[in-house]
Every structure is written in C-alpha cells, then in structure tokens.
Assembly symmetry: C2
Homo-oligomer: 429 residues x 2
C-alpha cells in the first residue's frame, strides 16, 4: 500500500456556504485545514446566496423599466452583470485566508483564463490553462477562483448558466490534475433518496458517475448535471460533503475517506448494489397525440419544433398501431411548458397528422437507479409489483441500462418513493 501524504485538492463552495462574512470565514477554515495538512488547494466559489437572483432580476427588469418593446436583453451584458457576484466572494475569501495567515489570491475567469465558447449565459468551457495556478499552488499559494464564469472568444465575460460553479470546479480539477474535487454544499452527501420524504434514506459512501448522472438529471439537486458529465469524462473523483460541519471535527481532513459521498468510476466500487437510489421529479405533464399517422418522419415532425422551442421532452411512449396506419404517441414535458407545447403542436397539426392532442398535468416520474441492474434480471418487475400492491397506477414506463422511470399520478409520489425505497432494501437498518 502506498501512503499518500500530499494531494492536490479542488474545493467548491456554493452560495449558502458564502452567504455572509461569518460563513466565508467558516469556508476559510475548511481551506486552512487542507493547507495545514500540506495539500495544494484551489477553491471555487459561488456568489453569496440571493445575490445572483438580485443581479438576474435587475437585468430582466431593465428592459421593462426602459420602456422597450422587447423583454429581451443582450446575454453578454447579462454575463457582465451577473458574474460580478462571484468576483466579490472570490476577493473576500482571499482576504479572509490572508488574515488567517494563508497565502491566497483571487482569480477571475478571464485572468486564468477559463476559455469558453460564445454561448453567453450558458457557455461551455473549451479550455483552461492551468499552468499559472499549478505553479503558484506549488509555491504554496491557494488559488481562489470565481466560479460560474469564463471568457468567450469575443474577450467578454461568459457565464456557464445556473449551477455553473460546480462545472467550474470539476473543470479546474481536470485542468490542474487534482486528486480530488470536493463539492461543499448544504447537505452532507448523496442519499439513496430524498431524506425529507423518506427519513430512513441512507447516505451513500460511493456512487458511480453514471448513477449520479441519472440522479442529478432526475431531480436530485445536489450537483449540476453538466458537472457530473465532466467529472465522468475526465475521471475526476468528486466528493459531495457538507460545508456546515465544524471544519476541525475529527475525520474532516481525512485524505482518503472524508465524510460525504464519493462520486467515482465503477471500478472503485467493489461491492456494487443492484439499486443505488430512487429519484423523482414532480410537476411533470403528459401530452398524448391520438390517431397519429404511423409513417416515417412523424417523430421528427413532432419533436423537431418542440426542440427548437427549447421544450425538454422526456419520456416518449409510442404504441404499435393495430392496422399499421394510425397510432397513439405519449410524451412528458415540464408542467410549465404544456401550453407552449400544445400551441406548437396545433401549429404543426397538418404536417404531423394527428386527430387530437390531450394533456394531463400533476404527474410524477419516479426512477429506480442502479448500475448493478445491467447484470440483474427482474429489477423492473420488482418495482411494478411493489407499486401494484399499494394500488398505484402506472401511466408510462421507460427504461435505460441503469434506470427504470415510471410515470404516476402526482398524488402518489411520496408513497411511491417510500415503497420503492423499501422494496429494494435501501432503508437504513
């Protein structure tokens, strides 16, 4: 066994963790703990909680106040305004660290630089030059990086979209070849399901990237989906842990097994459970197209215009038609997009060729997730049986290699989550 004593660690703190000067001091204590242990550290920070909303609100309201005809605004100006929130916290954390005797400096996205594409407001990171940061970390200086932002090819600030600081952290970790990326948040790890619904939910020691991706996509709001994708691609070992615990409590500085949940590669998980967790997404709505022309290209005719309107279509179920000419097609969209989707479908009714579009709201999608189900049969049947025993009607089913998603009436969502959580033996003993 090799004893590792020095590591390179990226630490990320979200908005509630830096909400005021006292909390920023607390964050600085977490950082100092790792520095004192001899590690090289880069820290990524979000804006103080509430600050981003305030800035976004100003940008959105400005066109109305200015009496313009259009509610739209220039995303490049949005980025300049909104990125200021992270700029403030990065500077304040650097000051806090320096006051505690820790060598530190702030870095804005454009200074490193974190190069992004030109999709202002929802930019993707293209390239990070880690040279300067790596050199300075080697000299014992903590890099305090403003999250959520980079610089576009137009030499202007580009933000990564909501939750983008998670993505910043994982991307920095990949760029500096960090041993670990710790995402400090207001929960102490990833749970088998939402503990507010199922009090017996267990905190997971480890979860694979693939499973976390499904969990994140399906409403477990611990990590931003894009950050998990990035961690998976670059194999960044990512810990989800709490920023509100005492920074100097026993075990907090454990290099190999800190408290929290490790998101990692499949190989790192020796004893893989069949099912890892139950996720759910409320406020789903279902749209059914009745007596749809069953011909090639009909799916493209339906989903092309919806995609153009940025409507996120999820579960798609198509029945095989009896006579080969007409069929039914059902799919789900977020509740807020139903009216927009129906309008688009009506506009394209001729081209698509359907009889009537029906919709139903107040639905819930419950999902069973586990990388182990790839090698186990009967996992889905087990879910159907458990739900049937509670009298919960299934409206639609979709499956992937590591996930079963079931659409049900929203009124049964908590019951369904609890039922499935028990059925797969996830309750803590």
């Amino acid at each position: 066994m090799v004893l590792i004593s020095m590591a390179r660690i990226v630490m990320k703190f979200g908005g509630t963790s830096v909400a005021n000067l006292e909390r920023i001091h607390n964050v600085a204590r977490h950082v100092k703990r790792e520095v004192d242990a001899g590690h090289e550290v880069a820290v990524v920070v979000s804006a103080m909680s509430g600050k981003t909303n305030e800035l976004v609100g100003w940008v959105q309201d400005m066109p109305k106040v200015a009496g313009g005809d259009s509610p739209f605004y220039d995303a490049r100006e949005y980025d300049a305004v909104v990125a200021s929130g992270e700029q403030v916290t990065s500077g304040l954390l650097a000051v806090a660290l320096q006051s505690m005797g820790v060598n530190a400096r702030s870095w804005q996205g454009w200074q490193i630089p974190i190069k992004t594409d030109n999709a202002h407001g929802a930019a993707r990171i293209l390239e990070i030059d880690g040279t300067d940061i790596i050199r300075r970390m080697g000299e014992g200086q903590v890099a305090v990086v403003a999250g959520f932002q980079g610089i576009g090819p137009d030499n202007r600030i580009a933000t990564l979209g909501r939750g983008g600081s998670d993505t910043s952290a994982v991307a920095i970790a990949a760029a500096v070849k960090a041993d670990r990326c710790d995402i400090y948040t207001d929960v102490d790890g990833v749970y088998t399901t939402d503990p507010r619904i199922v009090p017996t939910a267990r905190r997971l020691k480890k979860i694979t990237f693939e499973e976390m991706l499904e969990m994140a996509s399906l409403g477990a709001k611990v990590l931003q989906v894009r950050s998990v994708e990035l961690a998976m691609v670059h194999k960044v070992r990512t810990f989800v842990r709490s920023s509100f615990e005492d920074p100097d409590a026993p075990g907090m500085g454990d290099l190999l097994n800190p408290p929290g949940t490790l998101i990692c590669d499949e190989e790192e998980i020796v004893e893989q459970e069949v099912v890892t967790g139950i996720a759910y997404a409320k406020d789903e709505a279902q749209i059914s197209l009745r007596r749809l022309a069953d011909r090639p290209g009909v799916s493209a005719a339906i989903f092309g215009p919806l995609a153009e309107a940025h409507i996120n279509v999820d579960m798609i179920v198509q029945n095989i038609s009896e006579d080969g000419s007409r069929t039914d097609m059902t799919f789900t969209v977020p509740y807020g997009d139903v009216q927009k989707a129906l309008r688009i479908l009506e506009d394209n009714k001729e081209k698509i060729g359907f009889d009537v579009a029906q919709n139903e709201s107040g639905l819930c999608k419950v999902s069973v997730i586990g990388i182990g189900m790839r090698s186990h049969a009967g996992v889905a049947a087990h879910a159907f049986k458990a739900l049937a025993e509670k009298g919960i009607n299934i409206k639609a089913i979709t499956t992937s290699e590591i996930k079963i998603s079931i659409l049900i009436d929203g009124a049964y969502s908590e019951l369904a989550v609890r039922t499935l959580h028990s059925a797969y033996g996830l309750d803590k003993s």
Copy 2:
C-alpha cells in the same frame, strides 16, 4: 464661423444618477438624446450609490471576522471586490440603451484596456488604448465604460480611488480626443460659492481649469481634483451639469452651450472676472511650534516626517525671527490628523528643535479664487477690509497667483463666505 454638427462626447454619470433602474433609464435618455443628434458617445458610469460603501465595508470587516491579528487587507483583493459595482451598472446601462434601440456595449477597464500603475486602491492611469472604442463609436455603437477602474501591470483589476470615475471620464475623453466631457452630477453646475450657505450664489457659465482646481482642492466637491488636473493637462473641455433635469428639456442637447458650467482653458473665457468664486474648508486645525530653531533644514525636519505619515499639511506661515535664532512656525492640518501630527512632532522634537507645540481646532479656511487677480492689485486688501468690518479676526493668510486663503475661527465661516461673496460682487442680481 464654422458650424459643427457632429461631435464626439464623453458623458459621465455618478452614483446617485445610477442609483436604481429608473435612474439608469433616465441616464439612458440623456445618452439617447446625444446619439439621436448624431454624436459619437462614450459613457462612463459609477457604481449605484451606496454600493461602493457596502463593498468597501465587507473588505474592511473581513479580516476582523476572520479573527486575524491585523486589520489590513490586500489592496488587490479590495480592487477585485469593489470594482464589481461599476461592472454591474455598465452592463445595466447597456441593456437599457439597447432596449431603447440604441446600439451599445459595456466595457470593463481590463477590456479596453485602461492600463494603470500597480498602486492598487489608488492607481493612476498610465495609458488608454482608444482604438477599439473609437472604431466602434464610428460605427454608431455607444461605449459604456465601467468607471473607477483599470488593469495593472500584474494583470489584475486596479481601482483609481474615491471619485475615480471622474478621472476615468476625463482620461477616456483625452484618449478618444473627445470634443467635450460632460460630468453629470446631482448639482447643475459650479457655483460662485456653496448655494446652501449663500442663496444668492450664481452658477458660473465658465471657469478656468486653474480656478476649478483651486475650488476642488478647497472643498467644492463637484469634481475630483485629479480629474481637473488631467483635464487641464490634456485640455479636455469639461462640462459640469445635472443628471436630474428632464433629458429632453429645451437646450439640453445644445452642442455649444448646454446648461451647466464649462471648465476650460483661459483663452476660451473672453471677459474674465477678477474673482470667480469663494471656497471654504471647515474642520481645519492649526499647529504652532514656538521658539523654533531658525536654521537651514528645519522645514524639512518638520514636514518630512508628516508627509511620510500621509498628513496633508496646508497653510504654512513662518515669521521672521527678531534675532535670527528663534522663530514661530504655524501650519494647518485636517482636524482628524491633529493628534497623529502632534505625536510625530514630539517624537522628532530633538531633531527639529522647538520649545512647545500648541494646537487649535475648529478653524475654517476661506478662499477667494480668481484667475483675474493676477493682473489686478488690491484684491487681497479688499478681503481683509470686508472681514474686518464684520469683526472677523484673521489667524493666518496664504496667497498664490490666483487665490487668497484666510484662516478664521470656524464659528464665523458662513458669515465670512457671505461677506466675501458680496464684497466681490458675486451675488446674483
């Protein structure tokens, strides 16, 4: 006479002018007026009023909250935090302008770039590359520039110190060779004296750079001293005018004679008055060194250590000693610095060689300013006579080519200002 129809104008708006979205909209209306008239426009903005104080407060409090031994903070981090205020307003004003159909974009100091020296927190502008902005203004795009900031040789944000946005505006005006630099503020021009004390004070149509420099140095807080110096050196014709008037009121768009006060070169002022204005500075304190050794180098021994401690020594009066060995020396310092100055003098007592240091607070310095006094005799005597008639005792006098400063008891300050204002015929008829 040449009719000029198109001009290049720099407009600057301070914190109270951009305090909220409604006021930013009002600023945008001022800008649109000039754009619609066919002018090329660059706008420089401060942070929303109150914002800079909030940010500065956070930086100052952070070391205390972090429990550090020292109250000091890294000026580079201070700059990163505090400059965010102007970043926000520049983006919001660009959005407002776009909503009103005006082509506009925001520019941060580092984007232009506005290159400064490395004196973070109080940096000086070294160089502005106006190429990009000039080209875009030529294409009809308004440049909305975040004031108060630039980028240092260390590639980090550097702020120019309090009131720095005035300096930014004048420097940009010089860099883009603007025909005019309009400083929009919460007063509608420069007055012969403070209208709160003398209701009959008149707004000046024009004032020379030299006079304005004296007015600004002596407490007329309309413009930052450094910005006036810069305007004088680069001969930037600068208007002080109100941002709170209706942007579309008659005459507001007058190219040659807009409402407000023009600060300009002496040659532009055809009929120069002998006295242009009366300025005053309260809260002055006086320190007198009694029986001081009258030998070469004694002044350096006194004022060297005070300058090192950043104490601003102002009026210095030294009497000629009767016997050539001992004399008295009197000078003024800001009230807040008295104790510090006395401590320094005591520490250097041996080296300086004086008997006793006395001090008196609650004094006021009243100044009569006018470039015309260079060619007129008896201007000072007129002041002394007017004050004597009111029974106001004069404690010290200093004069320059265009200014007479008189130190008096603070209790008489308003009376003295009113008396001198009348004595030089400055009251409006």
